[in-house]
Symmetry: C2
Subunit: 334 residues, 2 copies
């Protein structure tokens, strides 16, 4: 292969867009509902259906406008949970995770859908983020680069969770490729027109890119900034009650992706004291004051930024015998 | 009485500040917790205790970080609920409302505390608001005027719910005087330092004013703008599923208290259509896109603004036999 020869990658035939994985993150809920309504209308009018699977992931939590009913669905897609024994007394989300894995996976198998885009909202001021388990999945990175170019007024970041495929826990890990599309700030349980519109446009550009890819277009290589998560920081808490004793410092609030330096103010206690960042290395904060992470013990996450070179790509032709860029172990074969 | 003679009003001996009436509105929760902690410390140090009753209104909902467990506590303080029969199967908040009424009331009786300030947050961009059932309660209006003067950088409005004392439903209606102090925008389940600080300063100025009043200071009269609620508007909804089919229009979002004119855009449907305000009268919108009101069928409230003249006041002396400015029916006497 010559240096400038585009990398050939398999066609993305089956694509799923999921909303309501967290039932109170409403942009995805209303986006999926609207698309399902349009599909119904198209079907009634005998029009060509949209070739994308739209999924409302957690209908019971969505009905109650809560993140989850029994347990966080988006932590249930690990190998151990999906392969674990099934019981009538399983929490609702464990049952639902296995259903979704049967529908969109099985995770890690040849039968899994080619790509899952899972729609999320955050109360943090993060604009539009892709969150993925790989920093070398050329498909996700190329889609991200495409959105960056098409939506120049929307700040956009690519977050990399450095977790093995076995330990990966979120719905998007069930597809051959996948990422969460996370947009904020928006309070959970609220839908804001601007956030909804950004998500809708982002999904449209993603589907456009996939259509072009599947029709044989060649995409130039280039560079993408990737934020790899280094660690999480919890709120200061009362030793006895475990209640938080401080809030995010005013000058840090809403400053997601602005470099945090050693000694910078981090928290303001409820009695007025300032607590500072004691790390040795400047890092990029994000998920600052995300509502759903109080219970997970995360006040903010910190990441290191690097520039990743991505190659030119195109869809591989039928005659190419090049193996897929993912591998299967024999027991995962269907 | 001469025109300029200050109106004499009874001393405010017993004052309650309540937080966590809605368990996920966190500024009040952490403010009350912090004050209770300070009181404990003062007690241990044999210092003079703060002469204010600090109350965590809905501990069970606060524990779960939810608005309520069974039903909205802040709709339970009507005569019919408080005087209704008691049963073991009553929703938790009904039981708790009766406990709070016994502690701070009984509502409408001479035994009730003199003033209740109930702390709330909203996801709407409302800055600091007082919400009260009267537009001629000189105590609440004077406290409001004091805060306006002391906190010139904080936009502040006085909202009047035109509901009879019998029908009044919120915790603050249990005191002889009372109001909700509502501050936003803040997502429910989140605490933001700036909102917490505004609430803390607001409460401090209120308590300062009460101390001055109780020590005999005379307060000049003047004018206060009062927003009287005229009506609420619901989201457009699907006839079958009752799901909302539109979000607040982008140009209206966060524009609480900016006059809405007939024909102005109100909603944007999820398919992209614009729906306009069909009222005949320009009115002031507020509680625009409040998270907790989706289930109540309120997308926004609309108010008429008027200027209310308030008289000069001072505490009435022991020798003054002037009757209180509230009345009691015989069956409400203790």
């Amino acid at each position: 292969m010559e240096v400038d020869e585009p990398v050939g990658l398999p066609k993305l035939s089956r694509v799923a867009v999921c909303g309501g994985t967290h039932g109170d993150e409403l942009s995805g809920v209303y986006l999926v509902r609207e698309q399902l309504k349009q599909s119904k209308r198209k079907e009634a009018d005998h029009e060509e259906p949209t070739p994308v699977l739209m999924v409302l992931s957690n209908p019971r939590a969505t009905q109650q406008c809560r993140r989850y009913v029994d347990t966080d669905l988006n932590r249930c897609f690990t190998r151990s949970v999906l392969d674990g024994p099934t019981s009538d007394t399983d929490p609702y989300e464990i049952i639902r995770a296995k259903e979704l894995n049967a529908m969109l996976g099985p995770k890690g198998s040849r039968g899994a859908v080619d790509l899952i885009c899972d729609l999320h909202n955050t109360t943090a001021n993060m604009d539009l983020c892709f969150i993925a388990y790989s920093d070398c999945d050329w498909i996700s990175l190329h889609i991200f680069k495409h959105l960056q170019r098409q939506m120049p007024d929307t700040p956009m970041r690519f977050i990399h969770l450095d977790v093995s495929n076995k330990e990966s826990y979120s719905l998007d890990s069930v597809g051959k490729h996948g990422f969460a599309m996370e947009i904020g700030p928006q309070p959970h349980g609220v839908v804001r027109s601007n956030i909804y519109a950004t998500m809708k446009v982002g999904v449209q550009h993603m589907l456009d890119w996939i259509r072009h890819f599947n029709s044989g277009s060649v995409f130039d290589g280039g560079f993408v900034d990737v934020y790899t998560v280094v660690k999480n920081i919890d709120y200061p808490r009362d030793g006895e009650t475990h209640n938080i004793t401080a809030a995010i410092y005013p000058s840090l609030q809403d400053r997601d992706f602005c470099l945090l330096h050693p000694g910078d103010p981090l928290f303001q206690t409820f009695s007025g004291e300032t607590l500072r960042y004691k790390g040795r290395e400047p890092l990029y904060p994000f998920f600052i004051n995300e509502c759903a992470y109080y219970e997970k013990g995360i006040a903010l996450s910190l990441a290191r930024k690097k520039s990743v070179m991505i190659p030119a790509i195109r869809m591989q032709t039928d005659t190419e015998e090049r193996a897929c860029d993912w591998s299967f172990t024999s027991e995962e074969e269907e």
